[in-house]
Symmetry: C2
Subunit: 406 residues, 2 copies
């Protein structure tokens, strides 16, 4: 298949590109490299030394014999070029990773909120409009997030995208109705994924676009079978307070003798998936394309859930690190349950790589190897969700008031 | 109160500005005049001769002694100026009309889809981000549409914004959950209003913004008590295939001996409200502001529902016009029921001006008075929802194949 990987220079996009290329697909990466620019803006860098995308593609050709082509294109700003590129190249499938994806970054300031909404909504909608306009019947696979549901405390398992509800009609009879599982996003970033859902629903219904939306958990780990093949194919690894995600951050903190920083009580339960499983899920989703006229196919792309403080304790036991409780910069419930259904990927053959599998140590090894590249001042999370929270965090940066809670 | 009217140069915004000004409020209009530019793009003009906004404000001052100030500002593109303006002027309330509001225009081409999403989502989100950033605790009243619900055929009355559903938890118990009434938008324009809902839900929850969302029916009529006060205060009146809405279009068609063009079987049921009631509802909504921490307050702003073919017959009877059935350029069900709850506005004192009230003739009189300004070639609706529909309409422009259906 001819596959376009939008956002293919990113943390999940790059290993996905390699994985699909190694399966024999013709892979083209489209990216505006905004993520690299954000590193520059924040004054941080990937823990792992990451080559330019052009260099990475060159090395992959050397190592595998397969070509991956790169196109510099901003999906949100260059609608005309996007449409022309699609019309010329006519992909069979498109994997869409190209959005600003950090919740803390999206809450940093008004400018960051405005950027995230503008970038993410326009990137996704431009793509949909261009597919309709060019009449390309490609299967679109989009990366969404489990976070749209806002980790609510209903105590029910989160289904794969849809919910059957009953509505009472005028005769007092109950009528069944299938709706999108209601979202309750907790950050501007998560909100954009909730908006994406509605864009997809409309374009599937109005234009028969074939769309799969993967509601992904937090991705951990760094290597996949392909990134291991050459030092210069290494994946990016974010550890800073904005882009570093919780489990990977704990592993890095452990590697540099930094206390594992838990926000609030650490009672938040989150869904996780290893990067190797993430790329495998995308392969599986691509094989299971919906047909024109089908509703949007939604998968929960995760393999296990954990409470944040349990993860911290697990990593502490493994590495001897300290755990430190800090005020939570996010506006969210202190504690939540999270039960997630993921039967669809299991039925398609996914064999989960769980935390128990020993890969945690591999990540600590990577972190130790590159520990000299870490700027310790960039490890704390600083974006506060509201002004009140920002003041609270400032008054009590060490979380003294929290001790009693945890 | 100091009230900012965003989109105050438009069809509902202008009479709202006059109405609130005549009640003694300090009114400032913000508009980028994009609607006037779209007239130029489409080569159409308001049926009624409409002065510049500056001239209209000057006349209002002459007639009423009250000042209305105008600010040229693009909410979607000038975030920084919007924020500065708010910070300086600090309104007590904001009425937000400033969006591209025609479904047919939003479906005209890929460029129009892209413009509508970009303009509407960014306008609304920029406003929300600026309110949080400036710390202004203004009551925000937004104009949404009944159309977000997609006129589904559940046979249940559409409630005012929310639905109680039951979710089965892991112990098999049913737990109640209040959700936004699920939307099913039928055009890119309606989709943007569905996106707005999610923006509002987030900012009310995260930042305590006080927001009212008015899900409005189709507005008909042209005069209000204030626009009648001077020829140059006249309201705009759209009759073209993109911006003219169904009842007003029938009345204009009748005035120029054009057949009343019904799309499809005319079995679509729609919700309606007279322009005088629309401005009165906004006054009522402003008085009934939610408190910080409240969920978004949602009203159905409509007074009656009618089937399109019944309206056509009513206008035909009143004026002697012909009714003509044409292929429907929209992708929608041929026939739908629509029952809408609107107890909230009635409880606040709204006294509906219904079609029966004789105001239909006033509109026909206005149409006749300015009939010489009508370009008959602009009356047909030409934007088709999909390529297939466009071809069908082209093959059978006279709707011959429809005769059997209607
Ligand atoms: N990493 C996770 O834990 C995680 C979890 C759930 C969901 N996701 C989703 O998976 C996707 C990929 O995540 P990631 O961690 O690889 O993110 P990333 O930031 O590393 O990669 C995103 C890539 O998209 C590019 N991009 C952004 N906006 C663009 C635009 N307008 N035009 C062209 N390119 C653009 C960036 O330059 C970057 O290379 C995202 O959509 C994210 O929301 C990620
Ligand atoms: N007219 C109806 O029948 C109807 C029905 C339901 C809902 N509504 C809603 O009511 C609101 C007003 O409708 P209307 O009929 O008065 O529309 P309109 O097009 O006449 O007025 C909208 C005004 O907003 C301005 N505007 C648009 N984008 C802007 C931007 N980015 N920055 C600043 N100004 C901008 C336009 O120039 C215009 O003056 C709309 O939001 C519409 O969706 C209207």
């Amino acid at each position: 298949m001819r596959i376009a990987i939008l956002g293919g220079d990113g943390f999940v996009g790059w290993p996905t590109s390699l994985h699909l290329s190694s399966l024999g697909h013709e892979v083209h990466i489209v990216d505006n490299l905004s993520r690299r620019w954000i590193d520059t803006e924040l004054g941080v860098q990937s823990l792992t030394p990451m080559d330019s995308i052009q260099e990475r593609c060159r090395i992959w050709k050397e190592v595998s014999g397969e070509a991956i082509r790169f196109h510099l294109l901003d999906l949100a700003r260059d609608y005309e070029r996007l449409r022309q590129w699609l019309a010329e190249w006519r992909p069979d499938a498109i994997v869409h990773f190209a959005e600003q994806r950090a919740a803390p970054y999206s809450m940093k300031s008004d400018r960051h909120k405005v950027y995230t909404v503008d970038n993410n909504v326009n990137a996704t909608h431009n793509l949909l409009a261009a597919l309709v306009e060019t009449g390309i019947d490609a299967h679109l696979v989009h990366l969404g997030t489990m976070g749209v549901y806002g980790y609510s405390n209903v105590g029910a398992a989160i289904p794969e995208g849809y919910l059957d509800v009953e509505i009472e009609n005028l005769e007092g009879e109950k009528k069944g109705l299938e709706i999108l599982y209601p979202t309750r996003p907790g950050s501007v970033y998560h909100m954009t994924k909730s908006l994406d859902q509605i864009l997809f629903q409309f374009y599937a219904q109005n234009d028969g676009l074939r769309i799969t939306d993967l509601h992904q958990g937090i991705v951990w780990g760094t290597h996949t079978d392909q990134t291991r093949r050459h030092e210069q194919l290494i994946n990016r690894f974010d550890y800073d307070g904005d882009y570093g995600t919780v489990l990977n951050r704990f592993l890095i903190q452990a590697a540099i003798d930094y206390p594992l920083t838990v926000h609030g009580t650490g009672g938040q339960t989150r869904a996780f998936i290893h990067i190797q499983d993430s790329v495998r899920c995308i392969e599986l989703a691509l094989r299971d394309a919906p047909r024109a006229g089908d509703r949007v196919k939604i998968f929960n792309q995760m393999t296990e859930t954990h409470r944040v403080r349990d993860l911290a304790e697990l990593v502490a036991k493994l590495t001897g690190a300290q755990v430190k409780y800090l005020p939570n910069p996010r506006k969210e419930a202190d504690e939540n349950e999270l039960i997630v259904r993921n039967e669809q990927f299991l039925a398609l053959g996914l064999e989960p790589t769980t935390l128990a599998e020993g890969l945690l140590e591999e990540v600590v090894d990577v972190a130790k190897k590159y520990a000299h590249r870490i700027d310790r001042s960039r490890v704390p999370a600083v974006s506060a969700w509201t002004r009140d929270i920002a003041q609270r965090v400032e008054r009590d940066p060490e979380g003294k008031a929290l001790k009693s809670v945890s």
